[in-house]
Subunit: 167 residues, 8 copies
């Protein structure tokens, strides 16, 4: 049963949201995903959201660009935590989506990530599950350790090769 749901407004968002799925796979967190538009399929969006908890979801990750109403609309129809990922669309480098998603009015929170930050959306979902799930917590800790080691490894390479890039 999926624990995390990913929703995005258009198939053009698939490559930008893929990072979330990859992180969730790496952390062995079952997830489902759908393409569903706040403006073009509003009823299915509401239905998908309202049934989310019953399908087993604990966290929803919603990616949207430009006007980016999707995360807020989802958050209005569930009391699950909703993570919003602003996506770059055709202008402003994603600032339109960042402001639309972050500037929610008091009462309906959306956890906003960086522009195109779907990976961090997945990691935040994992941190949320890890509060009460020690297995997830262990996998997250291992993930962080690997991440640190990767930076250290890159530094070791850099110490050998320097700015020229050759060893």
């Amino acid at each position: 049963m999926p624990r995390i749901g990913i929703i995005m407004g258009s198939d053009s968002d698939i490559p930008k949201m893929k990072g979330a799925a990859e992180i969730l796979d790496a952390l062995e967190l079952p997830h489902e995903a759908t393409i569903c538009s706040a403006h073009r399929t509003p009823d299915r969006t509401v239905q998908w959201t309202r049934e989310a908890r019953d399908r087993g979801l604990s966290v929803i990750i919603a990616g949207a660009g430009a006007s980016a109403a999707l995360p807020g609309v989802v958050a209005a129809h569930t009391d699950l935590p909703v993570i919003g990922v602003p996506l770059k669309a055709w202008a402003f480098d994603g600032l339109d989506a960042l402001l639309s998603i972050a500037q929610m009015p008091p009462g309906v929170p959306v956890a906003t990530m960086a522009v195109n930050g779907s990976k961090n959306g997945a990691l935040l979902a994992a941190r949320i599950l890890a509060i009460t799930d020690d297995d997830v917590r262990r996998r997250l800790a291992e993930f962080s350790r690997q991440q640190s080691e990767l930076v250290d490894k890159k530094d070791q390479d850099f110490q050998k090769k320097g700015f020229g890039g050759e060893s």
Copy 2:
């Protein structure tokens, strides 16, 4: 029977949207208005919008600040023309609302006005009705004429008084 509906997300928007009502009154266009939030009362928002045409509405003016999802959500649930008025909220001088309302994805248009531009929202609604209603057109023409005369009158005063403000 009202021909134009005004919807706004919060009672704090009343003074910013009042200009629309005043213009509509001046143009003798019957209108109704409601406070209804896309995020806090989403179901009533959808219901109000879906029944809009049957209540006689031809145009909807939706005012919203910050994340400003309301105009787009309304436009998603009706095929009436929707005019969005971005309102200044607590930051960014209304740029957040302007981008949220203007940057709608292809398929669901919202006619965006200036920040706090509720008067122009009403005037656009009147222009829309005036396409097929000669009475409205005459009243609009009269309104424009008065507007021009007002500028001319202010220039005449200025010619007398100059930059010092005294005649």
Copy 3:
């Protein structure tokens, strides 16, 4: 007889405004279009605008980039509803045009679309005509239905293929 007029300031705007014409064609709405600059051919712009209603036009869609005075100048010389489409020019991703078109002073409204949002310009024009034209309304409803189905279809494809893009 054309019901909708498209005006744009430069032949470099043709590809950005083409989406409007395509939508209007799909909705079987007769339209005319012209290249006419507010700054370089100001007299022809005024003349085209003043005669618009007599040529049968009900709505004008004006596309412009950068300083983007065209939609406002058109709106100053007609009482038809004017839809402004801010176009990306050589800088600022269209923000200059968006602000120029949206921030109209009280009295002369322009219905601002998204940056490069010419398709929504056409759809808004159709919504306006659909108020009193049930044929247009039916075609619009069909268009919206297809749009929803397209999203649903893309979701069905996605459910098969997932983030990897392969079925």
Copy 4:
């Protein structure tokens, strides 16, 4: 034992973060709070963060203005979910803090709220706890219901008084 920790960089942030404490009180969620600067008391910040889970905390809400490194620094030293609240400081209406907090690199997520959005920070924390705590969930649902009713009540008042503000 507190379940939620609030950390802020300066005593000037107290009034801006107070909304979080009020919401948590209303939802009967025990919380602790501290003033602790990422730049001026970096060691205490790290220590406070590292011991957070052992003190019983499940979620951390970090408020910061301007350069706003605090939420990211906290997120780097814990695997608890961290909610960042960008605060208005002396310039840019909080845009500096919003970008600093939202634009985290992949690997270390921070759940960004609106500028000065401390209330939503608390509500997101409650949603997170509500995943596995039905009592919190009930209180949240009650809170949302009241919120909707408040909007409805304001609409009822508005229907009586109209734009003039008088009944």
Copy 5:
């Protein structure tokens, strides 16, 4: 006979444009001024502009806020040099007007000043006249000398009083 014309779109611009008149008075440059709107009195704007050279004008200073089409429209109807002064209106600290006035397309130049920079508009007009008018040049040189002396005088005061402001 006036040599410089000032045009502004609204009587609310008078205090912001007054600085231009004061500088022109100080430099003994005869000038005229009018309130005339590109959007609300477009015909009078064109007429005023077209007759400008015949009234003796050599330079036009046009102040406008928000959408700020006035300077460009004036520049489209004359071959006199046009100086545009972006004025702060109700949002964005004048950035809307600055972009509207500065981002003119190739072919129709407008000399853009700082936001609310009407004094510099007058000084630029004086520099333009000073090219061929030695009297104006002498008065400008005297003005610049006084300006430098004023800075020097303020520094001398500051040397006595220091940051505390007391001598």
Copy 6:
């Protein structure tokens, strides 16, 4: 003897400023140009500027990107009219240069053009010379006439070919 001087801070600005030289050539206005940096060759910049009038220059066009101090520094050392052209550099699409050049303090005006607007810089210089030089004025009028005709010609082509681009 050159009547107009072009100054730019780097050889990388040559292609961006070339449009000014082309317009001046088309208008038969003799001009000189130099590469001279406000920051890297400050003394030569001052010397070039101070001797400008004696070399016969009536107007200076200064192009600069990023920090863009050059136009202001030039304006501080001459009483000739100075036209500043903000150039795109490595970030912000030229907004840094636009603000640096436009936001001059009262006392030292710079006539700011659009980002990369060197052609309009030349046209403004021509308008300035045309105040007292009827030959220049005639050539400018001819240039404007051609410009209008070009737009008309493009419209005629467009009428034949339509949005498809084929006749």
Copy 7:
């Protein structure tokens, strides 16, 4: 003999730059200050800068608003380290000055502080002197220690009084 020089373009900058003087006084670092404009008194600016090292200065702190050329001009005429403090002027909350000062071209560095960040300008100057002056370093360390203690003290007060502000 002063070791640090403060230069600012206008007497209106005195209150914004006063913080630098206060920090330098607290750190017992002798300093001098002048009002001197890059645009209105350019020659004295250059002279003051060129003689800076001979007057004993090791670091220069230059405050400027709006177009903010002063720090770059100073840096062009000395090889001392120059610290630029962008000051809020009449628009854009200091963004114009921030971009003007930060976006220096390669070759002439300016150490940019926060908008109105004159205190940090003084502290950076002190850090620079502390590299080779152990007395300054000791005073800086003491200053930092007090700063940390102040944060700790404020936290202790807050622990007593909480968000209500009462103990």
Copy 8:
């Protein structure tokens, strides 16, 4: 023994920070560099910073993009002067990093450079060392002289070839 340390958060920053190393090499200033992340390897970052002075470092150059906490975190753990270089990441052309690095709170200064301005970071470091090191000062003066000559040389080439680029 290195006198200057370069720290950057990711190996993707190497090409953007390389300019600093090249300038330091040209000025014969020994330096060390590391890849070390404020968020992913926070402990090593603090350790590297705390031992910096003992390793002989006098100045630290820290490059970071997006949220860009690294320079501030480094500055919090040392009293050496810290130079921050905002780097372009995946959005906003580096504005996020510029604001994060520049808008430091009073007490912990970071000397901010232009976006991607690593060369100027090195030159500022050299100016700082040159205060008390006449050898460095001589090399810096020679570097500046060459830089001026290069501009002069480019102007001489331009005088031969003109805007066409051919001699």
